[in-house]
Symmetry: C2
């Protein structure tokens, strides 16, 4: 790490609790809106949480982005993934061509897409600017080591990928972004995510390992065995998220953890996507539990294990549509629901303003 980079300790020290007073004031406004008490259900919870995070009664999330953190994975050597490793850079190129699932959904909800290379194997041209989407290169390495045979990365690299995710996110926040969704790209990344999930939530590994992009039964068995071996060899410390990330993690998962810490540090609400993003959420939570005060769970992934992660974190997903693509797709759709809640909070008249009779008590 360079001298002028912030340390993880300084990041954690800079994350303050959300002020309950703002939420209480927001609830008071909600109670005056021209509808039965809290009749829009969780939309009220969403808007009030955003008021508290943004410290305002005029919340605004119109400037939104999905940040796709990308990395490659040494565990691909084990050969159980149906997709080859070249798909990682191929999909990044597709993001930059506006051709992937996340592009359609982000455009629909009015969010920008930013790709952050935290550690894929090949070099991509940072000048690849198409459709307004951006690629930032901040590699911690060229793919992790195979964690089924040894540590995925060093502790220093774990810190570096978190801090680089933090820094890039902080830069984007400095450019005015008001709501951030996390996304991921990295063929093989359900394996480190499952390992992180099993270690940090203390859930049996078999309940955490799923089919990822679509492994068949024999490959699923090999995947489970490889991850099991990786945890046994590495003995990650469940009390130390940085150690877990170093031993069984991925660079993009560290980047996502850094992104979440940056949102919390700067008071910007965050939306987690699915299984891989929530593994990043587990790392961030392990380092600083308070980060959850700034986070929403965008959706519940079809990938086995995601529900256990969300239960552990106490996050109720906004959507449940059987999605399992990653890329930030679930976060993008959920961001639009959050924005709906914010606009409702700002625009709906009170009973008094509308001249509508109130309920008898």
């Amino acid at each position: 790490m360079s001298e002028n980079q912030i340390s993880i300790q300084d990041i954690i020290a800079g994350i303050k609790p959300v002020e309950a007073a703002w939420r209480d004031e927001a609830k008071e406004r909600t109670s005056q809106l021209v509808m039965p008490p809290r009749a829009l259900g969780r939309l009220h919870d969403f808007s009030e949480k955003i008021c508290a995070v943004q410290k305002t009664l005029r919340p605004d999330v119109s400037r939104k982005a999905v940040l796709i953190f990308a990395g490659d994975h040494g565990i691909m050597e084990e050969g159980f993934s149906p997709f080859p490793q070249e798909v990682t850079p191929e999909m990044i190129k597709t993001f930059l061509r506006d051709g992937a699932g996340i592009n359609a959904l982000a455009t629909h909800v009015g969010a920008e897409v930013e790709v952050i290379d935290t550690g894929i194997i090949p070099d991509l041209d940072p000048g690849m600017l198409q459709g307004g989407h951006r690629l930032t290169i901040c590699k911690t390495g060229r793919g992790t080591a195979n964690f089924s045979r040894g540590p995925a990365m060093t502790r220093q690299e774990a810190e570096q990928c978190i801090v680089s995710g933090f820094q890039r996110t902080a830069d984007l926040i400095g450019q005015g972004l008001q709501l951030l969704g996390t996304g991921d790209m990295g063929i093989g990344n359900t394996s480190p995510s499952a390992a992180i999930g099993a270690v940090l939530t203390q859930t049996p590994l078999k309940d955490m390992v799923g089919r990822g992009t679509g492994v068949d039964d024999p490959a699923l068995k090999r995947k489970l065995e490889a991850i099991e071996r990786g945890i046994a060899i590495n003995r990650p410390d469940p009390a130390d998220g940085l150690d877990v990330l170093a031993r069984v993690g991925g660079f993009e998962i560290g980047g996502i953890a850094g992104c979440l810490l940056a949102g919390a540090y700067h008071g910007v609400p965050l939306v987690l996507d699915g299984f891989i993003s929530t593994a990043g959420g587990l790392i961030a939570h392990s380092l600083c539990p308070r980060v959850l005060e700034y986070c929403f769970a965008g959706h519940c992934s079809q990938e086995q294990g995601h529900g256990h992660m969300l239960d552990f974190l106490g996050l109720e997903p906004i959507l449940d549509l059987g999605m399992r693509l990653g890329e930030g797709t679930g976060a993008a759709l959920a961001m639009s629901v959050l924005e709906a809640g914010v606009k409702m909070f700002n625009q709906v008249l009170t009973f008094a303003e509308a001249g509508v009779s109130e309920a008898s008590s």
Copy 2:
């Protein structure tokens, strides 16, 4: 009814089954999209159903509207509702001032709002045009009769409110609308909806009657007793949706049924809102079960009984956010999810177009 109005028999005869061939072709395109098989879950189901309804592989739902059907209810005489009956016209005025929950959500998703007075008690000025929203007056009556003491309306009136909902919706479809959401306004209308739900789904009434806008325990007991008495006195025929509507229904519920029949008749996809809209869905389904091939369930309402209705119809809700406002709010939010699915279907590249390696088989 005037001579030149279409009859319900003609409407039903004009509703054709959705062509499975379009859905099959759409599924074929989905299988080529640059993502693991059906990795966006229900978004694929949504886009393929819309392809089938619109008979195209280039679906388009960009022109959207929420149609709010309004009516008053004689059962308000029983005095258990916490809100007074004047709130029905007061809320319609709020819709036309852009000040209600539905206005914020419809604007957010890019949908128009149209209010259709199928039978509220007072007269509203049809020239009330604000914010581009429209009010159409097509009253079948000035509030229903108190169905806890006798029939809510005549059989002829039941037919009339359905046909007027059909006609107004058909006119709007003629103006180019591509996706319709149903909405409702009518203080007291959870009572007829619960009665319709209990009769047509054969669910015990106590599981269908909920707190509506917020009745307390003693009022809930009186509400249940009044509806129970209404069903006992009226003996609605569960095999005849028109009879059920006439005996225990509401004008706006008939209007919603007519709206759904119009979408099916003209091949336009429809999104049901919550409890009251789905009561309209039960009436439409009783008249023509095929109407469901054109329908989506926007959300699952917090109102007790809605889940039973959806189960009976075999419709899985798109959203489940604890909402219970009505007005079309759940439909509006869900329309945006459907549009996301449609844009994804149209815009995502195929593996071949993107030059991305496919999975090994």
